[in-house]
């Protein structure tokens, strides 16, 4: 059941990788997030070199997201203008991120940078999810309906220049916030191998004030292009995209998403989010542990890189 990955240059049990792709696809079907922020660290745990894990996860997200974009396109829940603005700056961000990654790799710090960023990112996301799910859970037990933050009609966003009309989102706002958001998500995608929906979806709702029905479709549209660009740039600059690994992960992923979507419809949201938060925090602690514990061998051979 072993298969040799030509770019990662190691043998893996393909059923394990397929199962991993399925599990992450399932989670993204349930929660509507890409799952890259879990897939990359899990691949690193499994022994895949961090560079390959990051670049190949970006490729997997591009594949799994594509069908989602088509569905939202048919339902006309994609703001193409907003999406294009974010894609444009996202491509610049992704190029900057891949360049940054190549620099870190040459310094021998790419592995550390990826792990350390994940500890911070997962710790943060996990804590927010845990807090939110517990609050909702408690509110439901006390018989109150969970309420979101009251949103005012105007915020600081409206004071910025270069305003543009986004018909689909019924917004007339400055292009600066979407450009900055796209750029940041592009960098995250290149350095961490994530789609960035966990950041862009809340930002689109709370900062840009986009209508909720177009947020997911627009985010997916942006994720598709940015992860595709990240994959190609990593392949060209760092030679870290493993086609065979991506193939197995995508196959597992697309099946996982289908079952996840159906399972998600039957399960209670806040309980699931609570479990997901625990999982995210466990992965964060595991990665931190690897950084703190004395490694088996303090010397390591970097293959192929001068």
């Amino acid at each position: 059941m072993e298969i040799y990955l030509p770019i990662a240059q190691m043998s893996v049990q393909w059923p394990v990788v397929l199962g991993l792709g399925f599990a992450i696809g399932f989670l993204s079907g349930v929660f509507g997030v890409g799952g890259g922020f879990l897939l990359t660290p899990l691949l690193i745990f499994y022994g895949i070199p961090p560079g390959v894990a990051v670049a190949t996860t970006a490729n997997q997200i591009a594949g799994v997201t594509f069908s989602g974009v088509l569905v939202h396109w048919k339902r006309q829940t994609v703001d193409f203008k907003m999406g294009s603005v974010m894609v444009a700056s996202g491509l610049v961000g992704s190029a900057a991120g891949v360049w940054l990654f190549a620099v870190l790799r040459r310094m021998g710090q790419a592995e550390f940078a990826v792990s350390a960023s994940y500890v911070l990112l997962l710790g943060w996301v996990g804590a927010i999810m845990l807090q939110e799910s517990m609050r909702t859970w408690k509110a439901r037990q006390e018989g109150k309906s969970p309420t979101g933050k009251r949103v005012g009609q105007h915020n600081w966003i409206h004071g910025l220049p270069f305003k543009m009309r986004f018909r689909q989102s019924r917004l007339y706002i400055s292009v600066i916030p979407p450009v900055v958001l796209g750029f940041v998500v592009g960098i995250l995608s290149a350095v961490l191998g994530v789609g960035g929906a966990f950041l862009s979806v809340p930002a689109m709702i709370y900062i840009l004030r986009m209508p909720t029905n177009v947020v997911v479709g627009t985010s997916m549209f942006q994720v598709l292009f940015v992860t595709a660009s990240t994959t190609i740039l990593h392949a060209a600059d760092n030679y870290t995209v493993d086609t065979l690994l991506a193939l197995i992960l995508v196959i597992g992923g697309v099946f996982g998403v289908q079952y996840g979507v159906r399972a998600g419809a039957k399960l209670r949201g806040e309980q699931l989010r609570f479990l997901m938060a625990i999982l995210v925090l466990v992965v964060a602690v595991g990665l931190l542990w690897q950084l703190v514990m004395r490694p088996d061998d303090v010397y390591s051979l970097t293959a192929g890189t001068p």
């Binding site: 072993e2 040799y4 990955l5 030509p6 770019i7 240059q9 043998s11 490729n59 997997q60 591009a62 594949g63 799994v64 997201t65 594509f66 069908s67 088509l70 569905v71 021998g108 710090q109 592995e111 550390f112 350390a116 595709a228 994959t231 190609i232 740039l233 990593h234 392949a235 060209a236 600059d237 030679y239 995209v241 086609t243 065979l244 991506a246 193939l247 995508v250 196959i251 697309v254 099946f255 289908q258 979507v261 159906r262 950084l291 703190v292 514990m293 004395r294 490694p295 061998d297 303090v298 010397y299 390591s300 051979l301 970097t302 293959a303 890189t305 001068p306």
Partner: protein, 245 residues
Amino acid sequence: MRMLLAALVMLTAPALAEEGLTSGLSQDYLQITSTFAGSELTVFGDVENPAGQETRDIVVVVRGPDALMTVRRKDRIAGLWINNARAKMWLPAYYFVTATRPLGDIAEGETLRRYELGLNDLRADVTASDGDARPYIASLVRAQKRAGLYIQADSAVEMQSATLFRVHVPIPAAVPRGSYTVEVYLFRDGDVVAAQSTPFYVDQAGFERRVFEFAHTKPFTYGVFTVLMAVALGWASMFLFRNRV
């Protein structure tokens, strides 16, 4: 330098002693087609005109192309283990050595070092960022041994008669393509009396290797292809599930 020494020995050996050496390889071109199995090379030969009853030994060395390798050392900084120092060195990508007896019994350390016989006697051109290069080389040798790329086999030279010998050299799939050399040394009483060097070429043709070559020779096209493959799979899954969701 090493090649020069071998050449010098080859030229002067017949004049110094009546003993000579003929050796050959099972093939001079090796194609590795499966990533799991690797391949094997057979080195065989004949000691010519054996004179008297002196102790005679044969040492066989196979060297791959030299490669620039980087070894990094982690140090504890603010409680975290971070790569902090590194050494770059030129060493063969593949190295195999064996003899009729343990190397230490055949010749003095000085002689073994001169011909680079044995994993501890490899000469590396090292630049270390912090003084002492030895732990870096030792760590590289450990890593290469684990990968099956550095092999020091004890007494793997099979004597088929008093003068005929044969050695099986395992070539793992992970070896890089390029020119390799097989060096055969004939020792008598601790000195090299004859030597022969034969080149051979390793090529790889497996599917995984082709993917690797594609990714490294046309990286941009490879990236585009990989994305298209992932997207096509995602799209295909829609048709598969269209009636079921």
